[in-house]
Symmetry: C2
Subunit: 796 residues, 2 copies
């Protein structure tokens, strides 16, 4: 196992082990558009790549309500390619003896390699190797190269290459009641001797998807002519090609596919675009060369090098690889957000939650053009967010907890507990804190880039409208002389109401309250940053009165934050009144208690009764803000904040958390990074393995946990470097885990390309040559000016 | 006539005069998406708004070749609304006596008002008023308010409101051989009592277009219930509504329409999006209020105030209005470019030429987010431009002379001369200088904004690939020891080959050669500006070798520029060998000789034989560059350049130009601004009237001349202020025409909001408050630092 590839090799494999390998992370890249390898669970079921944008009404109407469903649609599959010797069956794992198996995911070049040696029932031994990728430089192109070597036999051989649009969304068992078929066949035809074409349309959103494929055959590098027969049926087209193979000979098949949808730019019609792109595409090897070169370049910007732990290094790169599979330079210009499970699995139906909070910091500091594009995804849905707020009786813009095609709330109203088989009401859409994540990201993007145009023309508007929403969410409590926020949910989804309460919602979720204050502070700062005309324009357009600004100002000084036991920030009002859970008993009884909510519900109980969290809630504050910034916020609110507040709270909540969300360990590792290094490293290791070992028992097959993956990367990037971008200054304050000797990475900041290198003794920040104005680097109460071409070296 | 509205009023109009008024500029706004009023030539033919993106093969195949056609498609028309008293005919201008007529285009608020008093054949006198707009803040919405007042009659009245998708592209007579029908009906239905819905699809590009309309009736402000009947036919739906009207009563009809296409963002399906938007839309008056407010705000950024000439002020505003009709904040995020005729008429089929060269300077300095978006339109077509170059045997990226949906060359191969009725070959695609315009714009955008992200992630790549194209276009002439460019056309389309030459193309077009040098200089500068990693990334991706850079460097010192008569820059090699035209004879014989090419061709002659230009070619250099910059370029090439070179060349070419292009006068006015103020003002006045008076005899009806309109604005903005953005400095060097007392405008530059005010004695540059870093202002060899909140006052 190198630091750059995931390899599985087995010289006496049984069928089940191979089947398992086929489903592992090293294989399961169903990445969409412009990323890398694709998966193939076996020769029958090929999960395709995904497209977002359509949704369909649920066919089954549970509890008399129409629940909406599905922003995620499978791409028609371009992979199908199989073969058979004359008289044999089409190749299938089920029907052969597997002699050896090797599979390798090359992260550095975005290439999936597989080799399988097998013997069929006639004793024919054959080696099948394949390499595949989706081009990272041209997201319309994909390539598959298959080589068939006849080891001990000769004779006629048929190869069948197909495009299959009969794909289903059937990747998540508990969604089986939902409509799984989203594509209607439109056209399937042969273009010319070696090419075919498939056109489909999603049945609700009417998005068209076109694929054109060219299949060519080579022997010792030379193109060979081959007999072909076409089969066309609705949503499916195949070419059956027949030739001769002789003992020891290798037959190579190249399949080059172009994929376009009707929402692509710079084209007339997507079918024409796919056919033209396919006809212009060069051969597999030269496409692979440019694809690999682009990946190498992405890594030059995006790699994070850990000196000290090979395994962590590999998994970290796997996570970065997955981030770039989901959002890459190819995402720029597409109207896409960051789905919670990437494009990898079907869980959450491709919906967009708050995961970008964990993902943007990585992208901002490397390829901010991507985050700009992702922020525009939110900006385009601002009008709908205003509508959401207005419909719920609020002002400003209220982004939904689950966002899809048009930005309305897509959260389900009912939720299936597979443990009890019961459908329970789902109040997760009361998580108003998603808005703070969006404002936070818009602000951080500006901090990293200093992009005035973005701030003036869209960023400020989003931040102000979100601020306004939060201010309308607060109510003034004259008894306390403070503002409060009633009836919401925090990030911890175990708590959606008070025990025995009829109505859902909790009061004064500390995270939401403090984020509200932070957002309002930024809104006031934004107004101050803008030029007077932009400020006036925005105030006029949004109709922001002086009174409203005065209200915001007031809230930033008088928001309530609940405390108990002195320094413990209460997750919400009355948290301290909840019962303690008998953790030991549940641990003993159920072993894995990550999904304590399902366990308790199945027992007729509810986590609402207990001091127990699914994931970081109060502790999110320590993840997002430095102690400096938190101190400032608390003091402004008239609360004392000591450094000890942090370890006290960490200790308190860490032992009351089940880590039922994949995000939990990351955040806890983060907040412990400075107070308890050993614990932090252990939690980091756990979070590294969430998907790598599928430690959440099977949820990886439903899609990777992108937020958690990004979180581990961000943990190294920010928690261990102490990186902060605030007030036009790049702050650093390294704190290396004892397991690491050195940490190096590239950072982009305000036109500077920085090389950051940290050892336990020393911090180097080198700005490569260029012409950007000098930046300020903050370290231990000092500020340093850094010009392009210069290096700052600091002793730690 | 105020400075803000175009009014036509007539108290004893005849039908023809009204019909003419209906077709004038004050009415003819077929603006697309997010702009203002729409036109209605009469009650039968309603030109719709346009959508770009589809193209169709020409049905008639002229001269045995397939010529491609049509990137422009009419939107289904949302305007149809008519009425009739019981027993009468549907209202038609043809069938009534017109008693008075008033029409007003309110530029400040983007509103078209019309009032017509008439008497029908039964002696019934009626007043019909209407107001209409397409919302500039929400480009999906449009509103039409019609009030019918029965002056001397009572009785039942029917009103018919429709959505009509049976529109044709029939606006240009000489295109009649081309396919004019681009929309296929898909669905037409009544949604509920007051609403209806129409869905169509373009027949080639398969773009879907959906419209949903709500028609409501009001009497004295109260909604009234009305009897309705629906008619549906393919591509058309109407509601016939019947009520009673009594003498003196006014019946108001509000029609609110939502328009979506399948390429819109942030939606699921365009039909659903249109229906939802329509159902949420508020009433006419409140939509109008927000629309007007947005327009006022656009004007705060975009107005240019001339103190001294009311008429020039009005037309200048009309031009700015048209610019903002074509590209506005609504264009951001759409995959659109700037079509030569706006979205106003069908000439050139919506194709994109080089007009952005004249339009960007205005937008860059006010709303650079728009230019960024327009530059992305080009960037998305970079791959196709590479393909174009490769197919023509060149390197790098070659943008087409006429660009459409997918960025391939859309120039016609044949051209109809209406004067002779003959089809002649059209070599206009040899105008390689369009590439320089794109590079120039990308560079200027960066100069104004300092947008590093744009430069690093797309701008630099375009500039480098264009530079590479130009370098591959040059050949080294060892005899001269200089590089040359053979076989191209300059901006002057009268010259496409040497007299009696078989092959098209001219050698060493001075404009193209010098632009090549300029582009190569910028490419070298861009490489220098980038950080070392961005530079390496780009050089690796584009495979730019040291040798190639050395070649660029060499060309920037050894490009040939032809001269004759000492200081006259020859338009191309051998220009001085051409014959002088007998201008007087032609002027006498034909009166208007702007289209001398058509006249000569009809006579069996060709402009290729003469020293005669359709428009500025050499003189473009003086439009684009200050004398400082030109001097630098020429000296670098080893040619002498004196200040007198400018007036000599202006004088020489001005008298050899027929102004056959609408751009010509602008450029000539520009270059004369400093040498011959009177001549400059006269030419400026002429160019102001190109569309206002349709001085090119009928071409305005085929679409406004957007480049010329923008040019007049830019003339005031840059020629009379001496504004230049170069080397991170904002240069000013005012030179007011004697007709003006004061010139004031807003400018955006590198995060600063500037108020510029110029009198003959004084220049004030005030930077409004804000937080951007100080900028440098250059004036007469001096540089001044300007911080937000400060003003620079300079004596002239």
């Amino acid at each position: 196992m190198s630091d750059w590839s995931l390899v599985y090799e087995d010289f006496s494999p049984d069928r089940e082990r191979v089947r398992e390998a086929l489903c592992t992370l090293g294989n399961g890249y169903f990445a969409t558009r412009g990323s890398a390898p694709e998966a193939e669970a076996d020769d029958i079921h090929y999960p395709g790549t995904y497209i977002a944008g359509g949704y369909n009404r649920l066919k089954t109407d549970i509890a008399g309500r129409v629940v909406e469903n599905e922003d995620l649609v499978n791409f028609p599959n371009w992979l199908p390619l199989t073969f058979r010797p004359k008289g044999g069956r089409w190749f299938s794992l089920q029907a052969v003896d597997i002699l050896s198996y090797r599979q390798e995911l090359d992260l550095k070049h975005g290439l999936l390699f597989r080799r399988i040696r097998f013997k069929d029932s006639h004793g024919r031994r054959t080696t099948l190797t394949s390499r595949r990728f989706v081009h990272v430089g041209d997201h319309h192109l994909a390539g598959l190269e298959t080589t068939i070597t006849a080891e001990n036999w000769s004779g006629p051989i048929s190869i069948r290459s197909a495009l299959d649009g009969r794909v289903l969304n059937a990747g998540v068992a508990r969604y089986q009641a939902l409509n799984s078929k989203h594509l209607e066949p439109h056209e399937a035809r042969t273009i010319n001797d070696d090419s075919m074409y498939l056109l489909l349309e999603t049945n609700q959103s009417k998005l068209r998807v076109a694929e054109a494929a060219r299949t060519q055959f080579f022997h010792e590098g030379s193109l060979i002519d081959i007999k072909r027969e076409s089969t066309e049926e609705p949503g499916f087209i195949a070419q059956k090609c027949t030739t001769e193979i002789t003992e020891g000979q290798a037959l190579t098949v190249e399949k080059i596919v172009a994929l376009h949808t009707s929402r692509d730019h710079a084209m007339s019609e997507c079918g024409l675009a796919a056919r033209v792109a396919m006809s212009r595409a060069s051969r597999f090897s030269s496409l692979l060369a440019t694809h690999s070169q682009r990946w190498e370049r992405l890594w030059q910007r995006c790699d994070i090098v850990l000196d000290g732990s090979h395994r962590s290094q590999l998994i970290l790169r796997l996570h970065i690889f997955h981030l770039l599979q989901t959002v890459s330079p190819n995402s720029i210009d597409l109207d896409v957000g960051v789905p919670a499970r990437g494009w990898h699995g079907e869980a959450y139906r491709g919906h967009i939650f708050w995961d970008e909070l964990f993902i943007f910091p990585f992208l901002n500091l490397r390829i901010p053009d991507i985050t700009r594009s992702l922020l525009r995804y939110r900006y385009r849905r601002l009008e709908q967010a205003r509508w959401n707020a207005q419909s719920a009786g609020f002002k400003g813009a209220m982004y939904p907890w689950q966002s899809g095609s048009d930005g309305r709330e897509e959260s389900q109203l009912l939720h299936l507990n597979p443990q009890s088989g019961r459908w329970t009401t789902d109040n997760s859409s009361l998580q108003r804190h998603v808005n703070a994540a969006i404002a936070y990201n818009a602000w951080q993007y500006y901090q990293v880039t200093g992009d005035w145009e973005f701030l003036s023309f869209s960023g400020a508007e989003m931040i102000l409208e979100i601020a306004r929403f939060y201010s309308s969410l607060t109510t003034y409590n004259p008894r306390q002389g403070r503002y409060e926020i009633l009836g919401v949910m925090g990030p911890d989804e175990y708590h959606d109401r008070y025990p025995r309460a009829e109505a859902p919602g909790l009061n004064n979720n500390a995270y939401t309250n403090i984020m509200t204050v932070w957002v309002l502070c930024r809104a006031l700062e934004v107004l101050d940053l803008l030029t007077s005309d932009s400020r006036r324009e925005l105030r006029e357009t949004l109709n922001i009165s002086k009174d409203e600004i005065a209200l915001w100002e007031d809230i930033t000084h008088k928001m309530v934050v609940p405390f108990h036991e002195g320094t413990i920030i209460s997750q919400f009002d009355g948290y301290d009144q909840l019962e303690e859970l008998d953790w030991e008993r549940y641990q003993k009884k159920y072993k894995n208690i990550q999904r304590l909510d399902r366990i308790l519900e199945a027992e007729g109980d509810t986590p609402n009764r207990y001091k127990v969290s699914k994931q970081a809630d109060v502790l999110m504050l320590f993840y997002l803000f430095s102690s400096d910034e938190l101190r400032k916020l608390f003091r402004q609110l008239g609360y004392s904040f000591k450094y000890e507040t942090i370890p006290h709270n960490i200790k308190y909540y860490l032992k009351r958390t089940s880590h039922g969300s994949s995000l939990s360990q990351v955040v806890h590792a983060w907040v412990a990074a400075r107070s308890d290094r050993e614990k932090a490293w252990m939690l980091f290791q756990e979070s590294l393995h969430v998907d790598f070992l599928d430690s959440q028992s099977g949820t990886t097959a439903e899609g990777i946990h992108l937020g958690a993956m990004a979180g581990t990367v961000d943990l190294i990037q920010r928690a261990h470097t102490g990186l902060e971008t605030r007030g036009e200054i790049l702050y650093l304050n390294p704190c290396l885990p004892s397991e690491l000797k050195r940490l190096s990475m590239f950072l982009y900041y305000r036109g500077h390309s920085l090389d950051l290198s940290i050892t336990r003794q020393q911090l180097d920040v080198c700005s490569r040559t260029g012409r950007a104005p000098a930046i300020k680097v903050g370290f231990k109460n000092k500020r340093y000016r850094l010009k392009p071409g210069n290096t700052i070296r600091l002793e730690l």
